[in-house]
Symmetry: C2
Subunit: 249 residues, 2 copies
C-alpha cells in the first residue's frame, strides 16, 4: 500500500499524469515536518517551550520542538509523537496553526512544516530533555531568542492565533492551575492582551459568563486577604456553548 510506483501504474494508469510536464515521481520528493508551539503561563508572563537542538542543522541553537514526519505517519499524530519524544509532554491537545512551504526554508531539502500549538499549565508539565534535544527551556514570549529555521515567524503567527482565540473563547483555563483565583486569571488575560483591566468589571464579566465553579476554598499563607478559589466548570461551559452563547473578550 505504500508502494507508490505500483499504485500509479496498476490502479490509476496513465490518465493521472496526463497534464504534467515532468514525471510524476518528481513530485514525490518532499518531506513533511511538524513544529510545536507550546505556550505556558508562569510568573506573570507567557512562556514558550524551546529545545536546544542536539542535531544538525542548527546544532545547539534554540528551536521549537519539531521533527520530520515518518513516511506512514499521520501529520497530527506525528506532532504528538514528536512533542513527547523531545520534551516528555503528553496528554495535551494541540491545534493546527499554519503551514510553511517556502522552497528554501530548510537546508537539507524540500521540507514543508505544519505548525501546531497548545496551551499548558507550566506547573504541571515538567518538560524533560531527551537524547535528541539537549535541553528544554521556558522562555519569555516577550524576549524570544533567535530560533532555528523560520521558527520565530511560526511563533509569532501562533501567538496571534492565541489572541484571536482568546477573544472569542474562554481560553486560559489550560494555562492556569486547576484551582485559581480571579486575580490570577485577570493577570493572565492582561499578559495575553498586554493591557490592564478594571478589577471590579473584570470579575463581573467573567463571573456572569457562568462557567466558573466556586470551590468554596480560600488561599492560605498569602500576605493579604485570602482569595476565593475557582475552577473551570467544563459541564456548564458545554451547556452554554450548546445554547449558542458567545464569549466576547
Amino acid at each position: 500500500m505504500n508502494n507508490r510506483k505500483e499504485t500509479i501504474e496498476s490502479v490509476i494508469g496513465h490518465q493521472f499524469t496526463g497534464h504534467y510536464k515532468i514525471p510524476i515521481e518528481k513530485f514525490f520528493q518532499c518531506a513533511i515536518s511538524v513544529d510545536c508551539v507550546i505556550l505556558g503561563y508562569h510568573e506573570q508572563a507567557i512562556k514558550l517551550l524551546v529545545i536546544e537542538r542536539g542535531a544538525n542543522p542548527h546544532l545547539g541553537q534554540m528551536a521549537l520542538p519539531g521533527d520530520l514526519v515518518y513516511p506512514n505517519e499521520d501529520v497530527r499524530l506525528s506532532a504528538y509523537r514528536v512533542l513527547k519524544d523531545l520534551t516528555g509532554i503528553e496528554g495535551v491537545t494541540m491545534e493546527q496553526t499554519k503551514t510553511y512551504g517556502e522552497v528554501d526554508r530548510h537546508p537539507i531539502g524540500r521540507v514543508v512544516t505544519v505548525g501546531f500549538y497548545a496551551l499548558i499549565n507550566a506547573d504541571i508539565y515538567e518538560p524533560l530533555a531527551s537524547s535528541w534535544a539537549d535541553n528544554v527551556y521556558w522562555v519569555d514570549i516577550r524576549s524570544l531568542p533567535d530560533l532555528a529555521f523560520d521558527h520565530n515567524k511560526i511563533v509569532v503567527d501562533a501567538f496571534k492565533m492565541l489572541q484571536e482565540s482568546a477573544r472569542n473563547h474562554p481560553i486560559g483555563f489550560e494555562l492556569l492551575p486547576n484551582k485559581f483565583t480571579l486575580g490570577e486569571m485577570q493577570a493572565l488575560y492582561e499578559a495575553i492582551f498586554n493591557t490592564k483591566y478594571d478589577k471590579a468589571n473584570f470579575r463581573k464579566r467573567i463571573l456572569s459568563m457562568g462557567f466558573l465553579k466556586d470551590l468554596k476554598e480560600m488561599q492560605t499563607d498569602v500576605p493579604h486577604r485570602p482569595a476565593r478559589l475557582f475552577s473551570f466548570d467544563m459541564e456548564a461551559y458545554e451547556t452554554l456553548l450548546a445554547e449558542g452563547t458567545t464569549f466576547g473578550l
Copy 2:
C-alpha cells in the same frame, strides 16, 4: 541546490540523521498539493467554486480546484498558479486554512494538502474551464455535492473560518459588487450567519462603523423605492484599524 543527496552528505554530514531509525531518504517521498476554497455570493446565497475533474483519480467528480505543488515551487504561490490554471481566476488574495495530512487521503501516494481560501465577487470573475478541469461551476454552499478526496471536510473547515473572520472583520466587501446597497449587505450577512437582522439596527450599526462611502447614487429600475449605493472606503477603514478600532459582528 535541489540535489538532496549531495546536500545531505556534503553540507550536513551524518549528524543530522543520527537519531532516525530509517534512512533519511525515506522521509523525502511525500508530495504536497494545494486546494482552493473559493467562495462567492450570488443570488442571496454563498456559493462555492468547484471543478469537474478531467483526470484521475476521481475523473468526472466535482472537486476543489487543486493540484500538486511543483518541486521548486513555493506552496502559497502554487495555490495562485493552480487557481489560475484551472479556473482563469487571478488577482485575488487567498489565505491559508488548514493542512490535511492523513496517510491515506490520496490514492496515489502520500500527498499532504494545504488549503487556501478566498472570497470573490461572483459577478466580476467569470471562471473558465481549462483542459485540466472539464468544467467549472458555482454550487450553493448549503447543498454541496459529494466532492472528491476529503474536499467536503476542507470546505466545511474553511467556511467556519469565514464565519470566525466575519465576526471580527468587515468582511463581505470582497463578496459584494463595488457598488452595493445596505439591503444587499444585510442579506449577505444573513446568509453567512444564517440569521435575520432588524433592518433599522443593522444600518445604524454598519453606518456607525464609518467605513462605508456614500456614493450619492441610486439604484434604477427596481420595482420599489431605489436604494442608496455605497462602496467600501478602504482608506477610512485603514485609518480606523490603525487607531485600534475593533469591528464586532
